[in-house]
Structure formats: structure tokens, C-alpha cells
Symmetry: C2
Subunit: 200 residues, 2 copies
């Protein structure tokens, strides 16, 4: 396996290993030693590239946000600006991301107290929400929705985030096992976007 004394790509290899380990053991933490084992390197090697373990976690989380943002862009590209399909696509990406890498998703959104608030991570989280917000602003402009776009965006984010959390934590499974989460989100989002008539 290991052919050269100098790894060459150890920095990214460690980040990847950490990300895989976070995914494997669903628990929130992973062991740096495990990451070294996975990268085929001694436990002291990471300290040539990172000051400590926290720095690696921050990198993993930051790359998670980058990936999510890229998936947002890819998923909305097919639809014209202002189309409601764009909003739906963003929500679906969000949910799918959580399902595919639940532990990373949790890490991205739950600030660990031991993790000093990393500026890059914060900025990347902000950018992600900014993307959602922009979609809603566009939608509201095109469809002349009178509501506060910021408020609607937060509501949509909240609904989808709640759905993602309850899905990956197995709470829907306990309580409403036959639920179609995406249908639920879809219908809920339509109501939040004033797309469904009042049936009272």
C-alpha cells in the first residue's frame, strides 16, 4: 500500500479519513489514531499538517459546507431563476445530504463547545443559508408574494432542517413509520410559500 516515505497528500488524506470515520461510527466523535491508521501513517504525523485534532474537524466541516453548496448549485442549475422548482431542489439536496452523511450533517449544524467557533466554518454556513434566502427572494419577486422573504426563507429552512434531523435520528420511524418525508416537506413548503389555498 504505502510506497513512499513521504505521503505527499497526507493533509487531504487525513481529512478524508476523518470524514469516513465520522460516517462509519455514527457517534459524533472519531479517534485521531483511527484516522492515522486509515491513512497508513503514525499517530504523530498529523502534527506536521494540523496544530491539533480540532483543526482537522474544522476542515472536515468546512469541506462539508462546500460540498453542500456545490450540490445546491448543481441541483438548481436546470431551472430558471425564480422557479419554485429551485426551492424544492435545494430542500431535497439538504435532506439527501443529511441522510447520506448524518454524522457530518450533525457536526456541521451543532456547534460543539470544544470547537472554537471557526470563522471559515461560520462563513460557509452563512453562505449556505444565503443561497436558500436568495432563492426565496427571487421566488417572491417573480410571483409578487407579499410576505417577508427573509421570514419565509427561515421557515423553509427550519422545516427542512427539522425533517432532516428527525429522519436521521430515527424519530419519525418511532412515531410515524409510514410517513413519506419528502411528501410532507413538499406540502409543508407549499403552505409556507402561500401556494396552497386556505381550506378552513
Amino acid at each position: 500500500m504505502k510506497t513512499t516515505y513521504h505521503h505527499g497528500e497526507l493533509r487531504q488524506a487525513l481529512i478524508d479519513a476523518a470524514r469516513h470515520l465520522i460516517a462509519e461510527r455514527q457517534g459524533n466523535d472519531f479517534s485521531l489514531s483511527d484516522a492515522c491508521r486509515r491513512a497508513g501513517v503514525s499517530t504523530a504525523a498529523p502534527y506536521r499538517h494540523f496544530p491539533d485534532k480540532t483543526a482537522i474537524i474544522n476542515e472536515v466541516v468546512a469541506q462539508g459546507f462546500t460540498d453542500m453548496g456545490n450540490q445546491f448549485r448543481a441541483a438548481t442549475a436546470a431551472f430558471p431563476a425564480g422557479a419554485p422548482d429551485r426551492i424544492v431542489a435545494v430542500g431535497q439536496v439538504y435532506l439527501a445530504f443529511a441522510i447520506q452523511e448524518p454524522a457530518l450533517f450533525r457536526m456541521m449544524f451543532s456547534q460543539k463547545p470544544n470547537l472554537s467557533e471557526d470563522d471559515i466554518v461560520t462563513a460557509q454556513g452563512r453562505a449556505c443559508f444565503g443561497y436558500v434566502l436568495q432563492e426565496v427572494i427571487d421566488y417572491c419577486a417573480f410571483h409578487r408574494v407579499a410576505g417577508d422573504a427573509m421570514m419565509i426563507a427561515v421557515q423553509l429552512w427550519t422545516l427542512v432542517h427539522g425533517a432532516a434531523s428527525l429522519t436521521i435520528d430515527g424519530d419519525y420511524a418511532k412515531v410515524a413509520p409510514d410517513l413519506s418525508v419528502s411528501t410532507m416537506i413538499q406540502e409543508g413548503a407549499q403552505k409556507l410559500l402561500f401556494l396552497l389555498p386556505m381550506r378552513g
Copy 2:
């Protein structure tokens, strides 16, 4: 402090100590040794009352669900059956509970893989959601709402759970620091309950 050799209430004292520690260090885990220290007892003492640490955690979580259920009942008691105020009250209790004991809240809803799914815990979680569901069913019956009560209940739960999560994890603070979470929930819930007219 400690006066008698036999503690007398050690079982509950350990559960309380664990709950306090979970609250103090916001991280998801706590140390059994710390709980013993807090209860003024040797590290071997818990094993007279619990098979292992997991059993203590399960008890803490179970009592958390019991408390939440009691708060639901207390908060809705003032309003007549079917009143929308009851639904609002349940949502407010949910959010307040999360804010007051964030780490416990996380533990209650995020199933740890190391925690064998405890039947009592599952049942208590189900009971909590059942309470929400019943409120929505009553509301729909009184107000002749045509929608699927189960679907509406899940949407409300999802919205409030998302709001609770994003609040305690500090995500709103990063992205929309001036947001009034309760206003946001209130307005969102009205839309999900078909109480706001379509303004398209």
C-alpha cells in the same frame, strides 16, 4: 455533607447528578465518575443500582420525556379542547424545554447507536408526539379543517423541532441574529394550520 453510610436515595441522586452534568458540559456525554463525585459516592456505588452507564442515561432520557409530557399537560390545561392556543402552548413548551436543557433535548431525540433502543424511552417519545397529534386532531375536528390531521401534526412537530435545534445549536445566531424564533414559529404554524389567507 454526607452523614450516613447508606445514602438512601442514591439511585435518584445519580440520575439527577447525571442530568446536571449533561446540562453543564453541553457535550453529549458525561462521565460516570463525575456523577459519583457529585453524588458524594465512590465510583463503584452506581453498580448497586444500575447494570451500567447506559442504564443511567436511559433513565435520564426517560425522565426528560416524562417532564416534557407533564409540561405539555400543564401548559394546555387553561384552554378548552380544540382551541388553537393549545397547539401554540405545546410548541412553546417544546422550544422552552430545548432551550433550558439543550443537551438533554439532543439526547432525547438523537438516538445514540451505543444506546440500545430502550423500549420505555421509545414509548415515552411516542406518547409525547401522540399528545401533539391529539391536539391537532381536536383542532381539525372543531374547525372542520379538511386536511389530514396526521400530516399537519407532523409538519408542526417538524417546524418546532427544527426551530428548537437551530436555536440551541446557535445556527440562527450565525445567520439571522435578529430573528424572533417564537414569532417565526407562530406565523409558520398558522400557515401550516391553514389559518392564514393566501396572499399570492
